[in-house]
Assembly symmetry: C2
Homo-oligomer: 112 residues x 2
Amino acid sequence: MLTNGTCPKTMLSIKDALEALEGKWKLLILFALSTGPKRFKQIAKEVNGITDKTLSRELKNLETNELIKRTVHDTFPPTVEYTITEHGLSLEKVLEELHYWGLLHRKQVMGR
Amino acid sequence: MLTNGTCPKTMLSIKDALEALEGKWKLLILFALSTGPKRFKQIAKEVNGITDKTLSRELKNLETNELIKRTVHDTFPPTVEYTITEHGLSLEKVLEELHYWGLLHRKQVMGR
């Protein structure tokens, strides 16, 4: 694709994706949720370095984009769980390719 | 990978990648440069919506991360061209998967 000329339609779809996934946290949160539903504190622990305020904002944004689902369980006190949706799981290949490239980048640039 | 459990090492490499590519512009600039070396004004035209100030900052950052190369040609007046490096081209699969996912996301969420 990269060598096939710059197609404005392709650029648009990449822009759509980047706008939905903007920032460094959303994909990391989705990655943490890819192993199963989790509560706020569990996600905060797994996504190293994120503040509660940012996590809260990002979770809302991910819910708006239908990438995760927020479920309130009828316990006492009520418990809230976040689950990745099917649409969220469709990012698997993006995450895989970012993982491979991240390894390469560390070797190429950061590892010096 | 997504269903294989959350591996801290995988999360680290994804974080490395996301930090190097942070924001919505860097990948779009690389995509524009994937068809050949370009001058500042050409890139600004192809990457719709970017301001000169942001483009200038992002080009510097991409150069630091060795994703593009800045070449000054000995003309009168001197001309500057930006070229994608081999390391930049190694993002091809990431861009491809983002493209596919962007199409899906538009259909799923934005297209309603």
